[in-house]
């Protein structure tokens, strides 16, 4: 994944590179033509100096003087010619002897016919020019340097800017990451003078408010629906309790009543659990400092009696004096749900272990294969078929743990289902 600011940066860098690269031949063309103009001027001046210089002196010994000039001057030559020729400029590359090792050098030349002492002479003036490849190389080097400077500048500025310009955005993102639908903490975004961010924050605030509201409504609905069900359920239960007192009932009628009774009990339990689930984060569950070890031990005793009557062994290793801040009923519900879950899914004649140590509670029991860990703590996703539970027990465990910031986890290890709750938040 690339960062947003890096995307235009790439384009900027590419564009800079292309433009500056294209500037190399342009620079070269201009520098070359300025060079040539200047050298032509220079060559013409030399020629004029020759013409005026030689013509000003006496024409005696002109040939000797010319021979001497030619011998001394390497960059210009005077040669007698038979007729006039038009002036011409040229570029030539040849090897230069005198400057150290043999090297190809480039020259700009001018040939022009001048009259010295009444006779026509061909004057050739040549001036050393930087070679093409050297010029190109120098321009390319300088341009490259500037490209590097620009790119480095872009990257540096980008980094500085991204940290500052995107501050409101990263702040909002961080807050959204930590957002919890259950908490009533309001989310306040950083003030910003950037129009887009202000708009984004306004939209997010609205979105959060709407989500909260519909979440609240959904919870209220669950609670109201469950409440409304309580009274008719109470009526049904009490009717059945009265009905079974009837001595004239025959066996098949009693069986019908029993299955009715079981179904109503199940509905009642589901309903109670739904109410509990919808109300866990409500006020009313006041926290206090609790003796975690004592509570675990008490529940262990309660369960071990029932478990042993079914032939299930319960063993415990409970570290004393573990203290925790929580609501007592919620803590008891959480632990007893885990225990009853273990008892319910434990095969007969096997054992359950309860370990409390260093603020971690582990409850494990023997099992055949791993449960569906991803869905285990979701509502109504009971792992086994023919499950007598309400499908809400572990969801309640999760909800209570979430309320206090405890971590609940399930793993299948060494042929055992291991549930653990870490109380250090």
């Amino acid at each position: 994944m690339t960062k947003l600011l890096n995307k235009p940066l790439k384009a900027f860098i590419l564009f800079t590179f292309l433009v500056l690269s294209a500037s190399i031949p342009v620079y070269f063309y201009f520098i070359e033509s300025i060079w040539m103009d200047e050298l032509d001027d220079h060559n013409r001046q030399v020629k004029e100096q020759i013409r005026t210089g030689f013509n000003a002196s006496h024409s005696v010994l002109l040939n000797e003087k010319i021979a001497l000039w030619n011998a001394m001057q390497s960059s210009s030559r005077i040669e007698p010619v038979s007729g006039f020729r038009r002036d011409s400029v040229y570029v030539v590359e040849r090897e230069m002897m005198e400057s150290g090792p043999m090297e190809e050098e480039r020259f700009r030349g001018l040939t022009s016919t001048v009259v010295l002492g009444g006779k026509p002479y061909l004057v050739t003036v040549e001036t050393n020019v930087e070679e093409i490849h050297e010029t190109v190389l120098e321009i390319a080097l300088i341009t490259g340097l500037f490209i590097l400077l620009l790119i480095a500048g872009f990257i540096l500025l980008n980094r500085r800017l991204s940290a500052r310009v995107w501050l409101p955005f990263t702040d909002a993102l961080e807050k959204l990451k930590r957002f919890n639908l259950d908490s009533n903490e309001s989310v306040v975004f950083k003030e910003t003078d950037v129009e887009e961010f202000t708009e984004l924050n306004a939209v997010l605030t609205q979105l959060i408010e709407n989500t909260r509201q519909s979440y609240r409504q959904q919870k209220e609905f669950t609670q109201n629906a469950s409440h409304e069900l309580q009274t008719p359920l109470a009526l049904l239960k009490s009717k059945l309790d009265l009905l079974i007192q009837d001595r004239s009932l025959n066996t098949s009628q009693r069986q019908v009543i029993e299955s009715l009774d079981n179904s109503i009990s199940r509905i009642s339990r589901i309903n109670k659990n739904l109410l509990l689930l919808a109300g866990i984060e409500n006020r009313g569950y006041e926290s206090g400092t609790l003796d975690l070890s004592g509570i675990v031990r008490n529940l262990f005793d309660v369960f071990s009696e029932s478990a042993s009557s079914l032939g299930i062994g319960l063993s415990a290793a409970i570290t004393e004096e573990e203290i925790i801040d929580a609501n007592e009923s919620l803590l008891e519900i959480m632990i007893s749900n885990l225990l009853s879950n273990a008892v319910r899914h434990c095969s007969p004649k096997s054992d359950i272990r309860v370990i409390l140590n260093d603020r971690v509670l582990v409850i494990d029991n023997e099992g055949g294969a791993s449960l569906d860990a991803a869905n285990l703590f979701r509502r109504f996703t009971s792992a086994g078929t023919g499950n007598p539970g309400t499908g809400l027990g572990l969801a309640i465990v999760k909800e209570i743990c979430d309320k206090y910031g405890w971590q609940v986890a399930y793993v299948f290890a060494g042929g055992r289902h291991v549930f653990s709750v870490s109380f250090s938040s």
Binding site: L235, V302, S309
Partner: protein
């Protein structure tokens, strides 16, 4: 005759409760609104008041407060569909003796009333005697033919449920709920009930107790005693 006032706006439920309790030998009166309830508690004395919290005309907690202001020591059991912890805590703080969330089994209610009345009548020496059985409700011990019988907590809880509902049929689900208490998800497996009942029966029989605990096939159990 023990008098019970049922403050409950759901008339049919109130009648069912009253039917069940009458067969236990209680005298029941009904109040369907807050006004009726206040009127009744002003004029009469009850041994036990069953109090619904959501009443036409106001909260049942107001009735409870009025009762406490009059310094009456009627036993109060809150029966509420609002299984809200705050209500429960507030109710018990104001002076209710017990709290039972709806929906409940009538046998559970009867056992609670029985326990409450026993507590109120015999605070110091709460010894319940049924033939050869001597049940100390405070110390939670049982002696049969003057010999102590050691019961587990669950077995004792079952025994109390039975003696609080003598000669009534108690369904297995009512016993399961009685054993699980507040923990709704705890004993949803009826195997527990069978196992505990079996153990209790065995202990009673071994101690030479009469066969009071009868299995009513397809329904539940009955504590039969004349």
């Amino acid at each position: 005759m023990l008098k019970v006032l049922i403050i409950e706006d759901e008339t049919e439920l109130a009648l069912n409760i009253s039917d069940y309790l009458k067969a236990q030998g209680y005298v029941c009166e009904l109040a369907g609104t807050k006004a009726q309830a206040l009127e009744k508690i002003d004029s009469f004395q009850y041994d036990c008041i069953l109090l619904d919290l959501m009443l036409p005309g106001g909260s049942g907690l107001d009735v409870l407060e009025a009762l406490k202001k009059q310094d009456k020591d009627d036993g109060v059991i809150i029966i509420s569909a609002k299984n809200a912890v705050e209500d429960k805590i507030r109710g018990l703080k104001i002076g209710a003796d017990d709290y039972l969330a709806k929906p409940f089994h009538l046998s559970e209610l009867a056992a609670r009333i029985f326990a409450l009345l026993r507590r109120k009548q015999f605070n110091s020496a709460n010894l319940l005697i049924q033939n050869e059985l001597h049940i100390d409700l405070l110390a939670k011990t049982l002696t049969i033919h003057q010999k102590p019988v050691s019961l587990t907590k669950k077995e004792f809880a079952l025994l109390l449920m039975f003696v609080g509902n003598k000669n009534r049929v108690i369904s297995k689900s009512a016993l399961a709920e009685h054993l699980s208490g507040d923990m709704a998800d705890m004993f949803d497996n009826l195997d527990f009930v069978y196992a505990h009942i079996k153990n209790l029966k065995k202990k009673l029989t071994e101690a030479g107790c009469g066969q009071y605990l009868k299995t009513i096939y397809g329904t539940g159990y009955k504590w039969e005693i004349s």
